[in-house]
Point group: C2
Chain length 226, copies 2
DNA sequence: ACAAAAGTGTTCGGGTTACACCCATGG
DNA sequence: CCATGGGTGTAACCCGAACACTTTTGT
């Protein structure tokens, strides 16, 4: 039996939502293999850091983005997934609020970018299948945990929330039932601020009350949007 | 930056269900660290095998068990989780039908055993938290995928299925509603065999029709037991 | 006054829940 | 004939789905 020599990397699928479009954060590789291809941000784990620390460090170094939500996605370990050495990748799933969409300074911003999820380039390695899994996780999780709020600004309109759901779940939602249901959860704070989005009646701003959600969750409440 | 030297292991939480009790498969370690402690089966991944292959190999070597269901659980990578070197563990979640409960030949069976989930010894490393996560996964998944059948014999009684659910979910179920609901799914085959379990009226045997389930699933059917 | 988006209430139906008695067998 | 577990139907209730008009603002 030979000595094991497998490298451990982390990669992150980071979603953002801006201008009614779901985006994903990519970097352009500047070394082989897949030089000049777009890829998920990530890299090798350092000897003494946790996996989460590694993801956050790589995101900071490569993109300057800090995520608002992060969870482990899946570990990919096919022997041939990296053409050179054996590298297993522990992948993470991240969400970023619009407030934190700013990526690296414009000077070298050409190697980091937000891509519309529907206009993606080819991706390096097996990153496309990682992304596919992340999309599934996002769609799924959106229905049973209030993670959508980590893609919206702190203060948001109900129509934003609704549009987020229809965009990501790719199906129509009855506005009245949706609002009724979400409000009945009692996890939103209705602010006394109105915003007029160009034309039409000005809309109320809302805020997600995370404390309240955790409290209700502990009591057995289940967030659930079909 | 030093060269990365992190070892990659796989570990498996394998559940069995026998005599109305949920069991888990453990091995007794024969080397340090944690020599003579009980631990999850697992070990280092070989250079050229996939993660799944590694789990299945370790299970075969250490326990002689082949699982009927296997999926990735989570990856644990805290730097201090192994007191010696840095080892990250990619953990798997497995289920075994009673037909396959046989473990290694009795000669060395003292280092492999099924443990009642409610009468566990101390476990090595962070294996107890891995197990906790696996229990959650089991409980959860039982409600939205028909994995319970991978813990039952091919032919089973309705009361077995019901008991499995009440045991693992730790709550009562109305027998009539449960039966009505599961039968309405149309994924069980009612066999024309009856079994008399000691006293009482003989009960009918059923079989899970996996093909039918996959077909229905493709058409949008959702398995769902509260 | 018109266009655009926000806000709101009621009805209907299907599915889940609650619930109790008879049946077939072994001892 | 008694104990044990197996098998079955109905009524009440609740929640989700469907559905349209009024309000507020900008132009």
């Amino acid at each position: 039996m030979t000595i094991q020599n497998i490298k451990v990397a982390v990669d992150a699928v980071v979603f953002g939502y801006k201008d009614k479009v779901l985006n994903i954060l990519l970097i352009k590789r500047d070394i082989e293999p897949f030089k000049n291809s777009w890829a998920l941000p990530g890299g090798l784990v350092l000897e003494n850091e946790s996996l989460e620390d590694a993801v956050e460090r790589e995101l900071r170094e490569e993109t300057n983005v800090t995520v608002d939500y992060l969870e482990q996605l899946y570990s990919f370990g096919q022997p041939e997934r990296d053409p050179r050495n054996r590298v297993i990748s522990i992948t993470y799933f991240g969400l970023v609020k619009p407030e934190h969409h700013k990526i690296k300074a414009d000077t070298d911003a050409n190697d980091v970018a937000w891509f519309d999820i529907n206009k993606l380039p080819e991706l390096a390695f097996d990153h496309m299948s990682i992304l596919e899994m992340a999309k599934k996780r996002l769609r799924n999780k959106l229905t049973y945990e209030p993670i959508g709020f980590d893609l919206l600004a702190d203060k948001f309109l109900f129509s934003d929330l609704e549009k987020l759901y229809t965009t990501i779940l790719d199906k129509q939602i009855d506005r009245r039932n949706f609002r009724k249901k979400i409000l009945s959860f009692g996890i939103l704070e209705e602010l006394q601020e109105k915003v007029s989005e160009g034309r039409g009646r000005p809309a109320n701003l809302f805020k997600f009350n995370q404390k309240q959600y955790f409290k209700l969750k502990k009591e057995g409440f289940l967030f659930d949007i079909k």
